[in-house]
Symmetry: D2
Subunit: 349 residues, 4 copies
């Protein structure tokens, strides 16, 4: 009953196998190995983007920070929501990598950026000339940090606003596959066809040990990205082990299968929880994350039964047993509906 995070789960066995298989003999280092050629070709196919520049790094923060630094100047401000991973969970890595850009927090609805708020925030930077921060890229996350999902059309609306001001857009796709499965659209529809310029294409939260791809649909800044990656110490010498993971991830649509599993687990969990009178969802779950409120006494029971998840806003063990507290439940690919059933059973008992 582990719902604490999709960072705490295992890699898929075929990923480990791929690493073992990649471990024979000698090869070029630093991404010049044949495996990276295959990854690049496959991702270009997957994204219907034959010109895209594609790179691998090992952490999502690296993917986001180097991508955003490549799209920004140090005197820019990056538009994102307050819950964005780049704002809350990267210890100023975007500011570091960009050389001192700032983040402007844009209003949201359940972690999805509001188009009106975006337009207002960009417009607000209008009149200060050299004195204010300059307008930089827009960064959104799909699926969001709250588990909500943008449709391609919603993304287009946001990127359209950015384009009205000549700004680029970045998609933090740490849970890209979960969003895609949720929407039933193609990777191209979710990204460049919707106006996205650069994607952090996540793998670590969806069955890899630690690999994310960065996809620049316009390869114009590819060399700059390479230099920023190296200077950030994120170019791996034994890069074959990153390529091997990503190759396994893409083979036979494993990445989509794993996300489908996670989403299905989450849907099962949500359905079961919905049956409880005392459970209220903060918003409708759309991918593999649930935010729900229910009484402290129920939290207490679940945690004592061995469930692991974050209680967002208080102490599950001390206080009024009827006070509702918020749970964040994240469904890793590996949990399966049986994991959801176990949780629901504990809830019922």
């Amino acid at each position: 009953m582990f719902f604490a995070s999709d960072n705490g789960g295992p890699a898929h066995p075929s990923v480990i196998e791929a690493i073992a298989k990649a471990n024979g003999g000698y090869t070029s280092a630093y991404g010049a190995e044949a495996g990276m050629d295959r990854v690049r070709s496959r991702l270009r196919e997957v994204f219907e983007a034959p010109e895209a520049a594609i790179y691998l790094v090992a952490t999502g923060t690296a993917a986001n920070s180097i991508a955003l630094a490549t799209l920004s100047n140090p005197w820019d401000t990056i538009f994102c929501t307050s819950m964005a991973h780049i704002n809350e969970d990267e210890c100023n890595a975007p500011e570091f990598y960009s050389g001192g850009a700032k983040l402007t927090l844009v209003g949201d609805q359940d972690a999805k950026m509001s188009p009106d708020a975006l337009r207002a925030a960009i417009a607000a930077e209008e009149s200060r000339g050299v004195h204010g921060a300059q307008r930089g890229p827009v960064s959104i996350t799909n699926a969001t940090e709250k588990g909500t999902v943008y449709s391609p059309s919603e993304i287009s609306t946001l990127t359209g606003i950015a384009q009205d001001f000549g700004l680029k857009t970045h998609l933090d796709g740490a849970r890209f596959a979960n969003a895609l499965v949720s929407q039933g659209c193609t990777p191209a529809e979710m990204t460049w066809k919707a106006g996205i310029d650069v994607v952090s294409f996540g793998g670590t939260k969806n069955g890899l040990m630690g690999v994310e791809a960065v996809i620049l649909f316009d390869p114009d800044k590819a060399w700059e990205f390479e230099l920023r990656r190296k200077r950030g110490a994120h170019l791996f010498s034994k890069h074959r082990f990153l390529s091997a993971q990503m190759e396994a991830y893409l083979a036979d649509d494993l990445w989509l299968d794993l996300a489908a599993r996670a989403n299905a687990t989450c849907a099962r969990l949500a359905d079961g929880m919905r049956a409880h009178d005392s459970v209220e969802f903060l918003h409708e779950p759309a991918a593999n994350i649930i935010f729900a409120r229910f009484p402290r006494k129920l939290h207490k029971k679940l945690l004592e039964a061995g469930a692991q998840y974050y209680v967002w806003d208080g102490d599950a063990h001390q206080g009024d047993p009827d006070e509702p507290l918020t749970a964040r439940l994240v469904c890793d690919w590996s949990i399966g509906t049986e994991g959801a059933e176990a949780f629901l059973a504990a809830m019922r008992d």
Copy 2:
């Protein structure tokens, strides 16, 4: 016959096994897993340093850059040799991580920093007050980028000079195990007993997929290091896979065995090459790297026979066949004396 780099070889099979074994179930992320506790304990034993702060990162450049940034101010200069990896091969990562510190290049003998040159270089920064760069840490590499090795006593001499000026010292130990085996001393003797403050303890070039430990003998700046690692995007969520590699590396002294193998291969290769009249060593090989000069025609023959290595100073295929060119030959742990014999056979034929 792969002597191009110890970055091009495989991981040791037991490292892959350890990863597979670590892949079960759920665990804390970001280094809070039990495996990291074991790694920390073991490294403290290995280095006889029960108070040391110990962290894992995935690249040597990350280890060096974050370590040096932790020891430096942005207005400092770091003392190193011109061939230092931090100067030549990290695309300004030390400057980036330190926020703009500079490197002062100190004279060397076969890549080993000269004590007199170090003292002179530090002294030269004496009189400019606020105008000049301030004196920062000294960084040396053992084994060096040329394959030479400092003895503990030679290290003590350099750290003693640093201490005379109140400066800290960093050891880039990308090939630490090779140096240790070469010297037959203990890790403590090579480091803190010789005055070293922080070590980048390499694993990637000696049988790991991609893990380096940073060891701060004085834990005073441990929290700063943690923040710098996170901000640099080098804190892994599924950190268990770094811990697993390092644990396997330390188990049963695998790390020393692998380095001993590499050094033995190198010694065999050097002995065999010495028998050739036309071969001249730039300096006596001491760990797992050889720099040797021999005629172009011999390079040509070797490369055509399938040997892989870098010709340092020219085109092996075009030019006077008798002109001597420099080879850099690096012996990976995996090559074995049979690999050396194959090379020597090709040399003879």
Copy 3:
């Protein structure tokens, strides 16, 4: 009728005289001249702070940015209001000088930071460990960018909250003298007695050509400040001309006289405007700035009569003549009540 900014006015004649007088013969450079000793002594007296470290720079942005960088780590967040000069008008200089710190925007009332909002904002950074930005200093502005003024007691409340969390506080005193005159308190009461750690003590907006002092009540980081100033290229070789300005500013309380003039002009202007039915103040003017709303047709008349000021929220010449628009009127020391009368006359005509 120039009410556009206190950046557009002249220096006080005695400041020019002081510069001319400082222009004889040879002297030490870089702040080692005798004039700086006198400035330091005098400011220590003025602030009743005999241990304070005191430095001069030529721009307010330099004063703020170097001061905040000295109080911050690159992984910190600085707490300020959204209208703070450091947020809106310094083109990411604080982010640049701090090496990538971020700003957290705290709620305000008429540009005065709300204590409750400050406590909540600091508390919100509580639980993310290494993942979130770390808590850095609090920065407030007095008089504020809207012309409101904190009392010493209000400052104490904010610094007390900062101290509860172990945080330092910075006061942007670009209009320090205007605030002081408004409150009728001493410099010490406005600053260190109210818990402030570092002040940017402005001169440029109050009769100097371009000099601001930075006062660090705790001299512990004085040397770091000096290095940051030099590295930022803000240490003047012919520093005597900065000292001379500041010395003239402090002599015979010129600085207080000039601020008193500016505030009096502002009070006269406000009184006169208050008589108009169509004028509404956004908040009660307290120093030398007025924010007031009145109909477009009145703006149009004033501007056509030669008044210069910013219309904050629209076009004074196009649109419904009765629509109210906001004026920002800043009273420079040099305008005098006759300037206010001229404006009021134009308003009446």
Copy 4:
């Protein structure tokens, strides 16, 4: 007898007068005043560069650092000599402003960069791909920090090498006027006609209080320069006082007159010193700086007679009276030949 530095002397009286004259009434701030328009026009004429982008800052370090940052990427290395002000006397400001670029020190002859050494240094960065620092701009100083002077033809040779590799060039002209007078050429011949891309055109060391112009012959990066200047806190609100100084400097060729005076004083001093048997020049003085060696006893006598200058390499008062020590003598514009005569008289007595 002040020969310590051209930072310790006064501003020319007409500069003070210009400031006083600029002090009337209200004007636009931040460089939008009419005086800056006149400065821009005049400098374009002086440099025969009608398209050039021209900006003022108050320190030479700001001029150099912002100029070089505008020409560099953070992953570049800037080529300069070891004695360059940007290397020795700016406390890592170039590294700070560029976001972490490094400096590669190129061999020199009497502080003039050697063309062969430059070509070799650039070539040496050839083969490391993403691993090494990338090649950035070349920066030279004229007149040099040793008082030697490049001819336009010597500059062309260096810029030609830079252009062979596609690199830009920067001229640190802290003593530009002294070099120009020494060579008897035009500003255009010394700069863009000789291949220079950006000049720091000094004023502070030649009679201004504190103003330097940066001239970008190609205005393509003008906006970037403006943002970097603002972000560095070097955009003055009461900018009129910078413009006024520069306008006075250019009026009636004051700048050339002052440099001619300084050079003439220096030439007179050198001629007089040459008459002494015990005086040896390190190199032939060419602008307003002399480096000469003479016995300690002569230093002692001069210093006791009230001469002020730096003894470069030892204690003038302690040690063998016959041991030769090096003097650096800098002739400020204000000293005049009578100052030189006084020194020579003291030498003779």
